[in-house]
Symmetry: C2
């Protein structure tokens, strides 16, 4: 595949189209009275060459699994992305003037509410991870010809997440990935730290395993050649380092400070006139390349995923839920070849290695880089190519909270599995304890949170998560817990289980994971003193089975004790309080980890930090005085 | 300062001491039956040379502001760090056997419960940011001779946060910082991605602005020379890339898989015997260098920080709380030269640029790299050297949740200021909206959360935060809000304000930021229909003024409506529910942003997402039916 210089007419057409994209970006942001026209201007030639010379697109079905992927990591340049798709013919140019309007999906930053957007961007530094996930799937699972392009701003290239992803892409030799750095020199509030030091970018990218090509980002011929170089380079991803200028071709604005995120206002007309003067053929019309028939992505069915065999435990067996997670993951992996696991070098603790043992090809080691781990999973799950399970210690997902948050905006279906929750992990100490993970995942719009307490319910949680839309989180525990459910027990999202009840019950106890067992132990002790209590296992914390809790809470005199191995805020306890907010005549005692724990044996810690059976007994005695 | 090769005896002593440190690490982890002896073994020579040849320490006062700083970023190697301090004479060697015991502060990973630890480590990839913050302060504020050393594991060097920090250190030419990479080839569950490719590390570090020196990490002479090279290298930080072996000198364990995070068990005795055989002088005793008299850090007083002048607004003025933050920051900066501001290229949005305008030296631009931003602030605040205010958009703090979480373990006093909260930011869309920030900061143990509603209370929040221990978070809003407090109004943490009341009030409304004004508007409308309601401004969400809410809630028939520009989970609403958990006879309606918002005008969005005055009126009418 040797390089053919584009014809002079093509070059001029691409230049003209770039100017049209600039004009659209100005007009749209004038209409919306907000937005980032200067950040659009620096990538006008990049977008023109990409959309009208490089990308192979299906305008009838923008999320065609076989079409090239494009991610605008610098999401604030959304207007020019919308303009490119409009110029390509996906929707009328006139719609661009609806930018940022309440009834338009042409939002300030791109979201998948638009059918040509795979993931939301706008929180910077996340596009490369997603692109790397797509490229990994394209190369290793789809084995298809589609390529993935990511446009990154130079400002956002300070984000460490980018370097995690570049390392990942280099390590896995993702030669179907091309990352374009728009080095326009200016950030929001001042110049970037590297300004136009293109050699520094090149040295860094080469050291991170990339084929790095420096170009004049406003020269369509140089860009064209660089993309060709990217396409023929094997065993390495390519970075195109484009020297550009913010507000390019905007007289008295180009390359100047204080023009970030501002429409041009009363300068707009003059700038548009200038740009129009630069256009040779006002009627220029170009069409993106179609998706070739060869090298297509295979059909994939990720519906109705089932465990290959039902849970097979004995009541009373002692098994950690984290181990049951691994078992279940391998079981659904046996039944569906698109189930994949990703982990950050904790696979022998989270037990995601059970899928690796089954099929090494379907395990993606992301090493110790949780932001990229999550981003790659989001990319891998795009266009319904895979069912992705991401695992690490529950608390290390805090490292990727922003990526998970953006995952919800991206409408991702990624499943997160966090092990080592709570102070019950013991001696490793507070840095390793997940004590805020439920709070974090509860805030994710549309999320489902499983907190299974035994191996049977864990296996069912995994099966349910695989088939559930939106972000799912499964919280697993380090210590062994007793199997309390029959292998045939059915589990449903949003339905809890009453695990102990008598008609004489005076207090309702709610626990999950290790605290469910503390509740049961407390119930035993209390019964010796002729106090009977009911115990509920919520199974899912979100949605929480409010109906069940209200019904049984009322039967227990409106007395509820919630116990959790988590901080006070945003966890199971406050979920219960939210469920009861509309009910008078309830009183809730909430036992939780009140402060930073420390190293020590699990049983000592759960007692020291107030969530052991002894404390549950005390809370019941207290609440009965109410 | 030319290099003098250490004498043969010194070299042998350092070698012997390294072996002693290995033995202590084995014995301690044998006693605790958990821990990471092989991760200790790879850095034994590094620790020996650092502690007994390089670091200038004050054993009587380990946090002497003039002494060298040492951070073990790979916190799981804690036993050898403890062993080094014990060998240095800080505490008895015998105490090492209390490792990980419930009544010992020698925890599984280091925390500042120990007087020789500045920050908690154990969540990987955070040490360089903290070290860079210390070095920045040493070079630019203290202008002192102390140096900062950080030991980083090769596994954790995959964390992007590390590369953010390396870039920061290179950019600011922190030649008083030395980062030692312990390249021991093995991660937890498999080999690292780069294994022993030392040239790749060197190329990357050089490209990131470091003086990069590759050494045999088990050769004390090479280490000694490298540290000298670091000390004399100007205008560049130094990275020492140490080729090491995990489990070094542990026969049949060294450089082998499956030995991460495990005590040696029944192999321990044999290994210790082998190590003892390698020691020439069993009675070797070395002492760390003392802190020199010259180049000391200045005395600093960061107590009792005050606004240089009281708030100066007119009732009814319309001023964004984010702007009032900038004003207050400059005012406390005027009064105390150790008030510093850090931001991630959003200073003209958060208004932290007001301190930069006052004194450019006290503003630290961290560019778009929020994890490093937070880590640098934590480092800058260590040993009470500065009062650090860190600002960015509220939602972008999610990027650094793990760093903030570790900040609490580190007992940091950093103040976080998050602007652009909620859907009321408008057209920029959901990626820019802080809708989970209160939930996040509420989970931080010991945190204080201010959510001021007007300019006067914002200025007082800043003043209070500057003097408050632990993590403080101030949530500021983008839109202008009305000044409702007199300039003389006193504010106290944990005390809310009743901003509207009549004896006939039937419902208690609680709002903060823009929703306080929606509550007040709703109250006006309701009054036209002869319904009067009380309105509370909580001022701090944590601690929340439970007493005030209960008292006034009871006076309003136990009917409470909480309205917030935040998701349902973990925010003001659930804080109120937690405050009322122990009270029967309350009913709470909670208005919140129920799903991912979109782009649009602020007033349209707050109505569309259910938190406008109209919805408050409806909620009041509904709750009155109860």
């Amino acid at each position: 595949m040797s390089y053919h210089k584009p014809e002079a007419k093509t070059v001029q057409d691409l230049k003209d189209l770039a100017q049209k994209l600039r004009i659209h970006s100005i007009n749209a942001t004038q209409a919306s009275k907000s937005g980032h026209p200067t950040s659009c201007a620096s990538i006008a030639e990049i977008m023109s060459v990409l959309f009208f010379q490089q990308l192979r697109l299906n305008l009838k079905h923008p999320r065609d699994p076989s079409s090239d992927r494009f991610i605008l990591s610098k999401g604030h340049a959304a207007p020019i992305l919308y303009a490119a798709w409009a110029e390509a013919g996906l929707f009328p140019i006139a719609d661009l003037n609806n930018l940022r309007k309440i009834d338009s999906d042409l939002e300030g930053h791109p979201t998948p509410r638009l059918n040509f957007i795979d993931v939301g961007t706008g929180s910077l530094g996340q596009g490369v991870a997603v692109g790397a996930g797509m490229a990994y799937v394209g190369k290793n699972f789809d084995k298809a010809d589609y390529r993935t392009y990511v446009v990154v701003g130079d400002g956002e290239s300070a984000e460490g997440s980018i370097w995690e992803s570049l390392h990942f892409a280099g390590h896995y030799k993702l030669d179907n990935l091309c990352v374009i750095f728009d080095v326009n020199r200016l950030g929001q509030s001042e110049a970037t730290s590297l300004q136009h030091k293109l050699d520094v970018y090149r040295d860094r990218l080469e050291a991170f395993g990339f084929n790095a090509v420096v170009v004049d980002g406003h020269d369509v011929e140089e860009l064209s050649k660089a993309f060709h170089c990217a396409a023929i380079t094997k065993n390495k991803p390519t970075a195109i380092i484009a020297k550009t200028f913010k507000g390019r071709d905007f007289p008295n604005i180009e390359d100047l400070d204080n023009w970030h995120g501002k429409p041009l206002g009363d300068k707009a007309a003059e700038v548009v006139k200038h740009l129009e003067g630069l256009i040779v053929n006002k009627n220029v019309k170009l069409t993106p390349k179609p998706v070739p028939k060869t090298g297509a992505a295979p059909d994939v069915d990720i519906n109705n995923i089932k465990l290959s065999s039902p849970p097979a435990y004995k009541l009373g067996d002692s098994i950690a839920t984290r181990l049951a997670y691994g078992t279940a993951l391998a079981k659904i992996g046996q039944n569906n070849l698109r189930v994949v696991a990703l982990d950050g070098d904790t696979k022998n603790s989270t037990f995601s290695d059970k899928l690796k043992n089954l099929d090494p090809q379907r395990y993606i080691e992301c090493f110790i880089a949780e932001q990229n781990l999550v981003g790659v999973a989001v990319g891998a799950a795009c266009r319904r190519r895979t069912v992705a399970f991401v695992s690490t210690f529950a608390t290390f997902f805090t490292r990727a909270f922003d990526q998970i948050r953006m995952g919800a905006i991206s409408q991702t279906n990624v499943n997160f599995v966090g092990s080592h929750c709570g102070c019950s992990i013991g001696e490793d100490g507070p840095s390793q304890m997940g004590l805020e993970d439920i709070a974090m995942f509860r805030t994710i719009p549309g999320s489902t949170i499983f907190y299974p307490s035994d191996a049977v319910s864990t296996e069912r949680a995994v099966e349910l998560a695989a088939n559930t839309k939106g972000v799912c989180f499964i919280r697993t525990s380090r210590p062994n817990t007793c199997v309390i459910y029959d292998n045939e027990e059915p589990f449903t999202i949003g339905r809890g289980k009453v695990v102990r009840q008598k008609s004489s019950d005076e207090v309702l106890l709610i626990g999950a994971g290790i605290t469910l067992y503390e509740c049961l132990a407390a119930a035993d002790q209390l019964e010796k003193n002729c106090i009977t209590v009911r115990v509920i296992d919520p199974f899912t914390v979100k949605p929480l089975d409010a109906e069940l809790i209200i019904e049984h809470g009322k039967q227990c005199g409106g007395r509820v004790v919630v116990v959790e191995d988590h901080y006070q805020q945003g966890g199971l306890g406050e979920a219960v309080l939210s469920a009861l907010a509309g009910e008078r005549n309830f009183v809730v005692k909430h036992l939780y980890v009140p402060t930073v724990p420390r190293s020590g044996p699990p049983s000592v810690l759960i007692d020291m930090f107030g969530i052991s059976a002894r404390h549950v007994v005390n809370a019941v005695n207290e609440i009965l005085k109410d």
